[in-house]
């Protein structure tokens, strides 16, 4: 399969990418290409120009910044999964990145492309919503920080404005007694999330002091599961309370559960409590170790 013809432009800096975006209306940014190229090949997208941002050095790397980890947009899933810093400070994110697709997909796909593409079946948005992360959007006139909860607005739609480029993702670093985890029902062929659940649990003397949960895969965009959070807060950190709280996820799902030929909406909704429960248990176990 061949993409429709396009003009290929390569940016070597963020400033150059902005200049190229301004000069080429309708152009698409290309990072790892693992969402865009399949679309171009199927001709579901046929932009007049493609701007390759894959070599912009300032968009790479993982660094501490205050209480956050700042992960450059071009950081690959493989780099995130292998990062000792991410594994320690944002275990759920490392876990989600390690479960994206397969090794070759993880070698090319980037966190910036993943959040900008905002596929409902993606893994990283669910984690960022649960961890209360944020997206740093660089516009021609400067940066703004968009909380993850406001960034994802619908199926493949985000709060990113025209000509804004994702520069980085911010993730708060876990403190003592806090654990996080991500679990998913992976599609058996693509490994995309049919149901994904991310949890962060702070355990204090055996009690769940703070609980944050997000679900993805089965809803148009990753969202918090506040009924689950309320049900578990103040409860003992044990299997029975995880199961009881996870069952409440039905109240968080609403009427817009997605279904397809692989898994119906009913089936996904029935699986959601299972994965939420597992995420809660794994997060609480990590809180105990931290």
């Amino acid at each position: 399969m061949y993409a429709a013809e396009f003009n290929y432009l390569r940016a070597s800096s963020l400033a150059e990418a902005h200049r190229l975006l301004a000069a080429n209306p309708g152009a698409k940014l290309l990072a790892g290409g693992h969402s865009l190229i399949p679309l171009l090949k199927l001709r579901l997208a046929a932009p007049p120009a493609v701007i390759d941002i894959g070599r912009i050095a300032e968009l790479r790397g993982i660094a501490r910044r205050g209480d956050d980890l700042r992960i450059g947009a071009l950081t690959t899933h493989a780099e995130i999964a292998a990062s000792a810093e991410v594994r320690k400070s944002a275990a759920a994110l490392a876990e989600a990145a390690a479960g994206v697709g397969d090794p070759a997909v993880r070698n090319r796909g980037t966190i910036g492309g993943n959040v900008a593409h905002a596929d409902p079946a993606s893994d990283l948005p669910t984690v960022l919503v649960a961890l209360e992360g944020a997206v740093v959007a660089a516009g021609p006139k400067g940066e703004r920080t968009i909380p993850a909860a406001e960034f994802f607005t619908g199926v493949m739609t985000t709060a990113l404005r025209d000509h804004e480029i994702v520069a980085a993702v911010l993730v708060p670093m876990a403190t003592r007694g806090v654990g996080s985890a991500y679990t998913k029902f992976a599609h058996p062929a693509s490994r995309y999330a049919v149901v994904g659940a991310a949890a962060l649990v702070a355990v204090n003397k055996g009690t769940c002091a703070e609980v944050r949960v997000a679900v993805g895969g089965l809803v148009p965009h990753a969202r918090r599961a506040s009924a689950v959070e309320r049900a578990l807060s103040g409860q003992p950190a044990e299997a029975a309370s995880f199961a009881a709280a996870a069952a409440r996820v039905r109240d968080d799902l609403g009427s817009d559960v997605l279904g397809d030929i692989f898994a119906s909406a009913e089936y996904r909704a029935a699986m959601a409590p299972v994965y939420v429960k597992r995420a809660l248990a794994a997060a609480a176990a990590r809180a105990g170790l931290a």
Partner: protein
């Protein structure tokens, strides 16, 4: 047209390519390196896996222009001086293929795996080739073949 210069199996290869040309087609049609197969053409099957700067990548999901200036290794680049690469030897010895369509991609993924993890468990091997589909073997002999190569390297 765009100019690319890609080091393929140690040799710099230059070409004028359309930006939409996939790396898989650059290798197969411009360089006649037909060991890299195209199976699904939809990023799923891994038959087209090559190494780009040492890491496995699906060459049906990369434009040749993106690999400009990079180091690409294909299945043709593994044997040295007529000696099979340990993974190729493993596939031979352990009957790791039937029709052979998936084999080049399997081997390239396995090279990446063993570079990262020279002593993989069976589970690690299965994870390492999770992006490579085989419609013939049932995978067990492929796993054995990769184990063979790991064991051979460990004995050295």
């Amino acid at each position: 047209m765009a100019q690319v210069s890609i080091r393929v199996n140690g040799r710099v290869r230059k070409g004028d390519v359309e930006p939409r040309l996939l790396l898989a087609h650059f290798l197969r049609e411009h360089l006649n390196l037909t060991g890299t197969h195209v199976g699904c053409d939809t990023s799923q099957c891994g038959a087209c896996t090559v190494l780009i700067d040492g890491r496995s990548a699906k060459s049906c999901t990369i434009f040749a222009v993106q690999a400009d200036g990079c180091d690409v290794t294909t299945i043709e680049g593994l044997a040295r001086d007529g000696q099979l690469h340990p993974l190729q030897e493993g596939f031979w010895e352990e009957h790791g293929l039937q029709c052979g369509y998936c084999t080049p991609g399997m081997i390239m993924s396995a090279v990446d795996l063993l570079n990262d993890n020279p002593t993989p468990s069976e589970r690690d091997i299965r994870e390492g080739i999770a992006g490579n589909f085989c419609r013939c073997t049932g995978y067990q002999h492929i796993v054995n073949a990769i184990q063979y190569a790991a064991n051979k390297a460990a004995r050295k």
